[in-house]
Subunit: 496 residues, 2 copies
């Protein structure tokens, strides 16, 4: 611990000197105010390029000594030393984290409230004895459910089912929609003898030829059911058998929005028309659409937005054709858009039939309206609900949703300024809360910018073909926005 403290001080010292000598103007952003996050560091501190020598050594070790897959490993982390918005790596580099483990760290690293929870002896048993939650729930299950997931239930939804991860959440949500659809078709009568015998051998009518309508550019997970609705990258899909399910176009909005309002409205109308056509077509094909699944903002697929009006009209189309409407908030949920759920921005009292979540909610799961036959061994993990309760306490106590709205405003304004400043390089700045993105002129340049920015102490992620996505934690304050914009600007000058 002593050595790493010394290392940290040393790194800070080195970094300060490096910064003094760093090129690039800093007029984009206001002078950064003092950090408001108590357990945070003051700023990034870089000792090496990333991955540094120790990270590289660990990769070699894992790859050649243990024959493990390391293809996607960025670097190895020192989670003990990471704090708030800063991720520390094994080489002692401390980076401002604007990607947060693919958007899955809600209130920063090692938040004191979460550490405190771990030291409470009353909580130990929840970690040590993982129950089969569907058959033998713990005594505090109703309480913890009320405190956590039910306290943030989307409008019109009172039922929630936890799951272990985002893919399982969507898989089971799809099953819930299929079961709901078939129950509706059967009415009062139960399953027929033919239903029962045929389903055991994977055949209809017991295993019906129903479909889920999804959108181009969508990402809903990588298990076989989810993957049939995922259309963002070839690498996800190639070589995996799939279902013949309909895929509608997701609107491709033109930016800045205010200049293209007519074109964008036409584009959204076109997509909705296509949705209705596909529903009819697949019904005629004998593969009726049981449900429509959509992200409020397509994340993995490139941070593609659509208007509130688009989603409300889509939900009406679903209802008109007897399809369930599933809003996948795995990446958008948890406060990063400035509201707890991104669909709240639509202003609808009845936004969906199913809302799925994971990532920043720490547990997977979905809200729904009807009881279904959904079951597995673990059905989630109560230790994650325990953390979620505490995360929600922190969000409320520290008004983090307001903070996100404020930081998000500073971030998007900064991005607008940067794209004005680098017109050939950056375009289509967009976002809601701190859930923002910007496009780079091509994918190679985007990837270079990501690496250069990381070497300057900021972790970002890519999405879509050539977008950069910003996914900070909810404790990312205005101070951090300005810190980030200054560093980002320094990097961008090299690409002018």
């Amino acid at each position: 611990m002593a050595t790493s403290l010394i290392g940290r001080q040393l790194a800070l010292h080195l970094q300060k000197n490096l910064w003094l000598g760093a090129p690039g103007c800093r007029y984009v952003s206001k002078a950064a105010a003092k950090a408001e996050v108590e357990f945070d560091y003051d700023g990034p501190s870089m000792k090496t390029t990333v991955p540094g020598p120790r990270s590289q050594l660990f990769v070699l070790l894992l790859n050649f000594v243990f024959s493990q897959n390391v293809g996607a490993v960025n670097f190895f982390c020192n989670y003990e030393e990471s704090r708030g918005n800063y991720l520390v790596d094994v080489d002692g580099n401390r980076m401002l984290d604007v990607y947060t483990q693919i958007s899955s760290i809600p209130i920063g690293y090692n938040h004191p409230a979460l550490l405190k929870l771990m030291t409470n002896p009353n909580n130990l048993s929840t970690f040590v004895n993982r129950p089969a939650l569907g058959i033998l729930p713990p005594e505090n299950f109703p309480d913890k459910l009320t405190e956590s997931l039910l306290s943030i239930a989307p409008s019109g939804m009172s039922r929630v089912q936890t799951m272990a991860c985002g893919s399982c959440s969507n898989e089971n949500a799809y099953k819930a929609m299929f079961i709901w659809y078939r129950n509706k078709e059967r009415g009062q009568s139960g399953p027929s003898a033919e239903d029962i015998s045929s389903c055991m051998v994977n055949q209809g009518p017991g295993c019906p030829d129903l479909s889920i309508l999804s959108f181009t550019g969508a990402f809903h997970g990588r298990t076989l059911g989810c993957l049939a609705t995922t259309h963002s990258k070839v690498i996800h899909k190639l070589d995996v058998p799939s279902f013949d399910w309909p895929i509608a176009p997701f609107p491709r909005l033109q930016y800045p929005l205010e200049e293209f309002s007519r074109e964008n409205a036409q584009e959204e109308a076109r997509c909705l028309e296509e949705v209705e056509d596909l529903i009819v077509k697949w019904r005629q094909k004998g593969k009726p659409v049981a449900g429509i699944v959509i992200e409020p903002i397509q994340a993995e697929g490139g941070d593609n937005h659509a208007s509130a009006d688009f989603f409300i009209r889509l939900r009406r189309i679903a209802a008109k054709h007897g399809c369930a409407f599933h809003v996948d908030e795995v990446q958008t949920g948890g406060g990063c858009t400035g509201k707890f759920w991104a669909h709240e921005h639509w202003g609808s009292d009845d936004p969906a039939d199913i809302v799925s979540f994971s990532k920043k909610l720490l547990t997977g799961g979905y809200y729904h309206k009807e009881p279904y036959r959904i079951f597995n061994t673990w059905m989630g993990d109560p230790s994650k609900n325990l953390f979620l309760c505490e995360v929600l306490n922190v969000i409320r106590r520290e008004n983090l949703l307001e903070e996100v709205a404020r930081s998000g405003k500073a971030l998007i304004n900064g991005l607008y300024e940067l794209q004005a400043q680098y017109p050939g390089l950056l375009s289509r700045a967009r976002g809601q809360g701190t859930f923002c993105a910007i496009d780079v002129r091509d994918d190679a340049t985007r990837d270079k910018i990501l690496v250069k920015t990381r070497d300057k102490g900021v972790i970002l992620g890519g999405c879509g073909d050539r977008s950069i996505r910003f996914r900070p934690a909810l404790v990312f304050k205005e101070y951090h926005v300005h810190l980030f914009l200054n560093i980002f600007n320094d990097v961008l000058t090299q690409f002018k």
Copy 2:
């Protein structure tokens, strides 16, 4: 705490009095030796029938106040008070647990070693900061992997991929087999332009029409891919779209095995022949079999066993036809058969291409031989690896695999005696280690026996049509076997 201690003493007192007055002979089993598990209780202690009034109240609360699904809830548990082999419910009933959360508690409740791990400050960060393991692994990841999953790797396998649950493990194992199969087909050439464009819209050749061969009675999970290989119960399958994949018969062995060796060998040969026929048939159909998936003992489907010879020949058939061979050890893995993996009983140096696990391993995942494109956000949970390391330490330190072999022998001998004693009621006693089962004359009687046994303080589970499965923790000693057999015998006398 004080009240629950008093409650426990009171319950013990009541229970002892109840026992004194209980009918039924006790000659089946030896006098029970003193419990050898330090943190264990002395025996069951029942205050109410189960579910008791408090459990019923919680169910009502959850169902009507919170509109949650409670269909499968047995009762609510007090995990804080549970110890070793004993699960305590919210009514203060203390039950010998021979089902262990659907076979997922490896070394009993609140094991001191696991509690101690939780109080070590060095471990806190692993619980509080869940990483995206595929891109940003923690520093101790290679160490923890060596200590845990790599130290128990099946013969011939050095690569392991963790996942969040059993279903995700199998889904991703299937994907690995599809990718492996297509890579093999393509040889040196990469994917074609047509592969790339077609996969994005769920069509071939990019999303190829490949299949996984599974067996009647199999259970591999309930997400869409897994479910296409699951054939144990209608309730799992009904209303969910599936794939047209081949389903081979799993041998239906006749018991006692020594009396039917010729018939059983014929039955196994018949099933293997059918496997080859199906592989050929599906290849002709244009849906080649990329992999075969099988459980070493079909658990959910009714504890169906086959000989080592069957599995070894099946593995050879897979190799002959260029299919990957996937052994699903989600329920059988972790030591309950007396060896760490059930497939070790086959005595093969090269048992499989893929071995998947979850449940008692605390983390999901699979072992494999080739590198594949498998990725998701969490890719498992390092906090579960931490627990697994400690579980493995306890297994080694306390020679629990030997203990399981010993307890298992006592258990199966007891079951043989009971089925001799109740010939019209019980049959087909079978098992490996403590992973045992016995059949009851019909499902209604089986279900009644489960309830009556629970009210006497023993938790059991059903499987298949009319089997009872025994799934104790690895700390279930001979003492517990005799305790169980005595209680079970008392219950069975009522069904004579």
